[in-house]
Structure formats: C-alpha cells, structure tokens
C-alpha cells in the first residue's frame, strides 16, 4: 500500500467508510502485535493491546495530521498503550519469557545441532532482553526486532536522535553484558 493510497484510505474512513479501515489493520497488525508481544511476552496480552491500539487509532483518526507518517502515529499510540499496560502489570515472572517466544529462525540453512544451540542462545537472549528496563527494551524492540530507523524511533519515543541512538546501544550493551555473566 503506497503512502498516497494510505492517505486516501484514511480520508475515506473519515468520510464514513469504516470497512476500509480493515486495509490499515491488515497492513500494520504484524508490527503492532509484535511490539506488544516483545514488550509483554504474552500472546493474549499482545492481541488485546494491539486491538486496543487499532480501536484507539480509529477513534482518534480525525486528529491524525496527514502530513505525518501514519505508521509512526499508530506506533506511538501502540507504545503508549503498552507502557500503560506495563505500569499496571508490574510483576511478570521472568521464566515465562524463555518459553513464550517463537524461536523459528529465518535462517533455514542451519543443521539440527546448530539450530538447537542457536535456540538455546536465543532463549537466554530473550531472558536477558526482558531483564532490561521498559524504556531500554522498547528501543531495542524498535531498532533490532522491528528494524525501524533511528529517525522513526526518535519521533515515536519523543527522544532526540542522539539520545535514541545512545539509549538503544546502551540497551544492547546491557544485553551483551548479561549474556556473558
């Protein structure tokens, strides 16, 4: 879906064609769901939070500044919803994170032994990742899980470009330190 077409869809939703909103949901459900999933570690919570994000975006669509990128606006809503959820549910047991992840690799060329070793490392990585503070975790998710640009991260998180870069790498550095403990 091109940017111009996306704006046309938003306009038609604003004019009352609600069904067009399904196109927007289809396009962005994976990144929004994954943001919620990586932050909470629970599929059920992620599904609820992602749904809440799309509903809130629909309700506030009239306030969307059409000169901005829709994805960053939607992602900001999603991030705020996830932050509020995490504030409410402070205590999530760490052991869940090692089990609750889809480890299927994009690299299909690995042998079964290598694949097993890699999965164990990824499990450990996931536990280390979830031991980060929420602020650092969200930046690592945006940059490395979702591969957003630092400009997008800065816009979504409200940080300056340099602060976004610095904190993201601080998060990554902490993961590295904890992996080596």
């Amino acid at each position: 879906m091109e940017e111009k077409k996306e704006i046309d869809i938003i306009r038609s939703v604003l004019e009352g064609d609600r069904d067009s909103y399904a196109l927007i949901v289809d396009k962005y459900k994976v990144p929004i769901f994954n943001l919620a999933f990586r932050m909470t570690g629970s599929c059920e919570d992620a599904s609820d939070l992602a749904q809440e994000t799309f509903i809130k975006a629909f309700e506030n669509l009239g306030r969307f500044d059409q000169k901005r990128k829709f994805f960053t606006w939607l992602y900001t809503i999603g991030l705020n919803i996830v932050r509020n959820h995490l504030k409410r549910e402070k205590k999530i047991p760490l052991r869940d994170f090692a089990e609750d992840t889809d480890f299927s690799s994009r690299d299909k060329s690995l042998t079964p032994e290598h694949s097993l070793m890699r999965d164990q490392k990824v499990k450990r990585l996931n536990v280390c990742f979830h031991s980060l503070s929420d602020n650092l975790r969200e930046l690592v998710v945006m940059r490395f899980y979702q591969e957003l640009s630092f400009e997008e991260i800065a816009e979504i998180s409200g940080l300056s470009l340099s602060a976004a870069k610095m904190r993201t790498y601080r998060g990554l550095e902490k993961i590295r330190e904890r992996m080596e403990e």
Binding site: Y21, V25, F33, Q51, F54, L125, Y145
Partner: protein, 228 residues
C-alpha cells in the same frame, strides 16, 4: 658511562616505551574488536528471530469493535479534533525540542503568579476609584477576574507537575477559555467605560495576554509531543 652508551640507552628506553604503548593499544583494539563482534552477533541473532503472527481472526475482531464505535465524525467531533490536534511546531524554536511536565507546569505557575500580581494591583487601584463613585461596573470586577485566571493556571500547573493524566486536555481547554475570556473581557470593558481612549490601554494588554496564551499553548504542544 660513555656518551654513546647513554645515547643507546635512551634510544632503547624510547623503543621500550613505544612498544608498551603500541601493545596496550593493540590489546585494547583486540578487546574492542571482540566486543563489537559479539554485539554484532547478538544483533544478528535478534534480527534472525521471525516476527510472531497475530491470530488469524485479528482483523475481524478489530473490525467488529470498530463497528460498535459510535459515529464520531459529526460537526462537533470535527471542531473538537481541530482544536485538540497536536500541531507540528518543528520550525518554531522558542522553547527546546522537548520539554518536561515540570517545565510546562512551571510556565503555568509563572503566568498564574503574574495574574496574581495584576489582581493585587487592580485591587489596590480600584479602592480609590470606587470611592469616587465611578460608574463602570465591569471594571470593579477586574481583580476577581485576574484572581480567577491565576487560580485556574495554578491548578493546571500543579496538575502538570504532579503528573495528572488529564493535565494536557485540561490545559488546552483552559488556554482556549482564557483567550476567549480575555477578549470578551476587553470588549465589555471598552463598551462599559464609554471612553474611546481606553482602547489604547486595552489593546496592548489584550494582545499581550493572547501572546501569553499562545506561549502556553506552544509549551503544552511541545510537552504533548514529547510525552506522546
């Protein structure tokens, strides 16, 4: 020790020192290189994890809920959206790119103190006017008007500083109300005092107050953009 031996010794010491520095830098370089390599490994590992797919009926569930949302795009909703939409103020650099709720609250408290002072001045000045039997009734309410603004902004400032979730919304509403009240108050004063010359005093005061309102709105938007 002969002069040649001394010279040789100093050359050897210099080489030793240079060697130490080089080997220290080399070791540091190797450690740094290994650290970067490991970090790169973790980045690749994270990037290699497949994204999790949402449930198959995800879009249907969202659309079902969207269908239950009330139709909100009437005239009232459009006006509400127009007034409350965050503005792109990137080209305007009166304040820093992002300001905290504490800073934003501080601006409101400052304006509150300003109106408190204005109210006190009015109170003191009108004591003499009221004894002369002056007929402009609306003028006599100016201290109360200033105190009401001071109290309103003080509450807004405190709610910002204490991090109340309604503060951005209430601040916006308060600023619109403030600007409208200032303009209406000036018009009533002008009509009530029946002196054309009054406009010369009222106009700069009104413009100044509207600029204060604009500054507060700008600070609120900056905070809002930062917070969201």
């Amino acid at each position: 020790m002969s002069r040649t031996e001394g010279c040789n010794l100093s050359v050897s010491v210099t080489f030793c020192l240079a060697g130490c520095i080089l080997s220290r830098d080399l070791i540091y370089g190797i450690v740094e290189w290994k650290r970067k390599l490991k970090t790169k490994l973790y980045i690749d590992m994270i990037k290699g994890i497949s994204p999790v797919q949402p449930p198959d009926d995800f879009t249907d569930r969202v659309m079902l809920k969207v269908g239950l949302c009330p139709s909100r795009y009437g005239a009232a909703k459009r006006i509400h959206d127009l007034l409350t939409r965050p503005r792109d103020l990137k080209g305007f650099r009166l304040l820093p790119e992002s300001i905290t709720k504490g800073q934003c609250g501080f601006y409101f408290i400052l304006v509150s103190l300003f109106y408190l002072a204005v109210g006190m001045v009015f109170l003191r000045s009108l004591e003499t006017i009221s004894t002369t039997g002056y007929q402009a009734i609306w003028l006599l309410y100016q201290p109360e008007f200033s105190f009401a603004i001071a109290i309103g902004f003080a509450f807004t400032g405190i709610s910002f500083i204490s991090g109340q979730p309604v503060s951005v919304r209430s601040a916006r509403f308060g600023i619109y109300l403030y600007v409208a009240a200032i303009v209406i108050n000036s018009l009533i004063l002008q009509i009530d005092m029946k002196l054309p010359i009054v406009i010369l005093a009222l106009l700069p005061l009104t413009i100044g107050s509207v600029i204060i309102g604009g500054f507060l709105a700008y600070a609120t938007e900056r905070y809002y953009c930062n917070a969201s």
